[in-house]
């Protein structure tokens, strides 16, 4: 059994207009020391799913079902008190916007040390020393001095480092990073990604990294889960998914971002339309209203039937949720020449 095993996770929010199915049947596995990248647009359910792992949804406002097995224990069966003891110790989270995730009235050191004191019965002095050690570890210069600074005195990159220090101070076995670099400049993003990789090696943590940036996924993730409208639509090893994607939504993501190397002849093909409403998602495959390939599927299958998340044409572990019978051929012949003409030429030569 995998270290983290999520089975059929559902997070539904009842509202006056109906039930919002933010996550609808999500399953994945993650081993220690490995990184899972979850990609998707806003509203695809990636953040909601990870908050469920931390038990951050109020029982009064969200209906969470399924299984979240961390090292064999089902986190969803724990009481609030039991979950509180694990949160921050076994499972920790790094939030997207460190300025709003940190308390402006407390010093950085105070907040980092608090994360330690909650789970360890130590004096303030010991906890502070530990906080300084951690700030040093994440590369904050003069940590013994900066520990008494307030969050506004830190730059964006340093705040994100402090957030990481806070997340890792208890050596959590599972770290969830929700868009950890979205608010940062590229050079600082590179520093933070390097830091995360180094720390992961050192602590052997399992990491879930949530992002909409496929570039970050390409650099960080061992496994990739592509989410659309609350469901996984493609799941497999990072290399597989980035080199041989088999789901039209993943193709759309890949062809709608320009890159800095590649051929300038490459076309930028947007995905038409908008992400669907989760209150009233489209019938059948949720992506069908925006899909340019649905006429390749006989009949009305895409509109009427939700495809299973099943192995595609390549390997048993590369799963896709799509009715297309020959996605590998379509990708090679139709998508690749548009988004990476240089690759096709290389192959022909």
């Amino acid at each position: 059994m995998a270290f983290l095993s999520v089975r059929d996770l559902k997070v539904h929010f009842p509202t006056v207009d109906g039930i919002v199915k933010a996550t609808d049947g999500l399953s994945f596995d993650l081993e220690k020391g490995k990184t899972l990248g979850i990609v998707g647009e806003s509203g695809s359910g990636k953040s909601v799913s990870s908050s469920a792992i931390l038990g951050l949804h109020r029982k009064t406002s969200a209906m969470v079902s399924g299984e979240i097995l961390l090292d064999g224990t089902d986190l969803l069966k724990l009481s609030d008190e039991q979950m509180r003891r694990r949160r921050g110790k076994d499972v920790a989270m790094i939030f997207q916007d460190p300025l709003s995730a940190m308390h402006p009235y407390y010093t950085v050191g105070n907040q980092v040390a608090e994360a330690y004191r909650v789970h360890h019965n130590v004096s303030k002095k010991v906890a502070k020393a530990r906080a300084v050690e951690m700030l040093d570890r994440v590369g904050i210069p003069q940590p013994d001095r900066r520990v008494d600074d307030y969050p506004h005195q830190f730059s964006g990159g340093m705040r994100q480092r402090a957030m990481i220090a806070m997340g890792l101070i208890n050596n959590p076995s599972l770290l969830i990073a929700d868009e950890p670099t979205t608010a940062l400049d590229v050079t600082v993003q590179a520093q933070i990604l390097d830091l995360l990789q180094d720390l992961q090696k050192e602590f052997e943590s399992a990491v879930i990294i949530i992002t909409h940036d496929l570039g970050v996924i390409a650099e960080m993730a061992d496994d990739v889960l592509v989410m659309y409208a609350g469901r996984a639509v493609e799941y497999g090893s990072g290399n597989e998914i980035l080199t041989h994607p088999e789901m039209p939504y993943t193709w759309g993501l890949l062809s709608s971002v320009p890159d800095v190397t590649g051929d300038t002849e490459a076309r930028l093909i947007p995905i038409p339309g908008n992400p669907p409403s989760l209150l009233n998602p489209p019938s059948g495959c949720a992506f069908h209203p925006r899909c340019a390939h649905r006429d390749k599927v006989p009949g009305d299958l895409c509109v009427t039937t939700l495809p299973e998340l099943a192995p595609g044409t390549r390997t048993e572990t590369h799963l896709k949720r799509c009715h297309l019978a020959n996605p590998d051929v379509v990708y090679e012949q139709e998508i690749l020449p548009e988004i990476a003409p240089e690759l096709v030429e290389e192959k022909q030569a």
Binding site: T187, Q191, V216, I217, G252, S256, T261, G262, T264, L268
Partner: protein, 434 residues
Amino acid sequence: MNNKRGDDKLTPLPATANFLPQDDPISRTEDPVDQDEIDFVAPIEGHAASVADPNAKPILEVRDLKMYFPVKSSGIIRRTIGHVQAVDGVSFQVPEGGALGLVGESGCGKSTTGRMVTRLYEPTSGTITFDGRDISRISTRQLKPLRREVQMIFQDPYTSLNPRHSVGAIIGAPLAIHKVLPRNKILPRVQELLEIVGLNPEHYNRYPHEFSGGQRQRIGIARALTLQPKLLVADEPVSALDVSIQAQVINLLQDVQREFNIAFVFVAHDLAVVRHFCPEIAVMYLGKIVEIADRDTLYNRPNHPYTQALLSAVPDVKQAAIGGRRERIRLEGDVPSPINPPSGCRFRTRCPIAQEICARVEPPLLQIGKRHKVACHFAGELGHHPDRPVTAPLLGVDDTGAPDPGATPTTMAGNEPGYSDTWYDLERKTMASA
């Protein structure tokens, strides 16, 4: 997005000009309100990167532009105790119908530059020549006609549209203010504009909150297009949008650029988006242009260590997919404060190849190719930076930056807008020409 482009250029706006491409409106499928309307989407033709017209005349010329914001002391008497040197001597040209990208990290002055071009800020010094006229000092009254020619697209579509005005009022406002059309002609024109940017023309009486982020950005673009400007300053126009929507908006901007021959100053931190949109790109660091070149040169053969570091830091999905990650150049620390920038070269505190001269002498923006300028004492391609400063003999200093009495400084026309026909050849260490 199948509309015709390029071949039917527009005449300047007659009162009821119908400048809609007649064959097919840009995809009108984006609508959270009427999800059911999305029934079938035809395959969309993508857009390749924009290309530059080498013979186009410059429509905008910026020369030695500076913007210093005063820093006041606290207390009752608020004295000026320093200046934030947000932009410090920037020069460039934008050709008619062309696009110049301004990139750099936050705080490098790229947005401030964009705002000076639209005269939302009055520059501290320097000139902005638009269409042959210096607009850097003109009065508010004289600015009004200028607003018809120069417009801006803002970053955040949630805060740049007045929530209490209907879309029709937002897009029609410029027409009413400039008295371009009689009142009863405004609505048809608004609907035409909505159609150009791919929104349903029937939605003119809706309010901004009824639209998604991508749609709001389209409204912002429609508003900017209303008066048929010749120059658009786009300040991070796609960075607040979802990835799949970003491509839609970039393609729309390319469409309107080709359709109406609009020049763009495109401010963004996303190097990939800028590469796609702009044939020419300037990299800024702490208020200065450190490297400016055409697209291929800048992305394939950057000569400034900062450009090299920036490019190496961009996670690249296709690169990773082909196999192998590129080696990143780690830049330590953060951008220094623009209130008290480092002496000499402003990048030297984070530069992996900085030497003594870099702290003493500021490197001039030196033209080193046909369309390539760089401000570095050790300019060279990655891994081939020279051991001795290339600029020392030109500046009349020795290798450490101390004045060299034996040398004669050469005057280089580096920080001029545009490019000259001759340049300094780094290999042969002499002047060269095409």
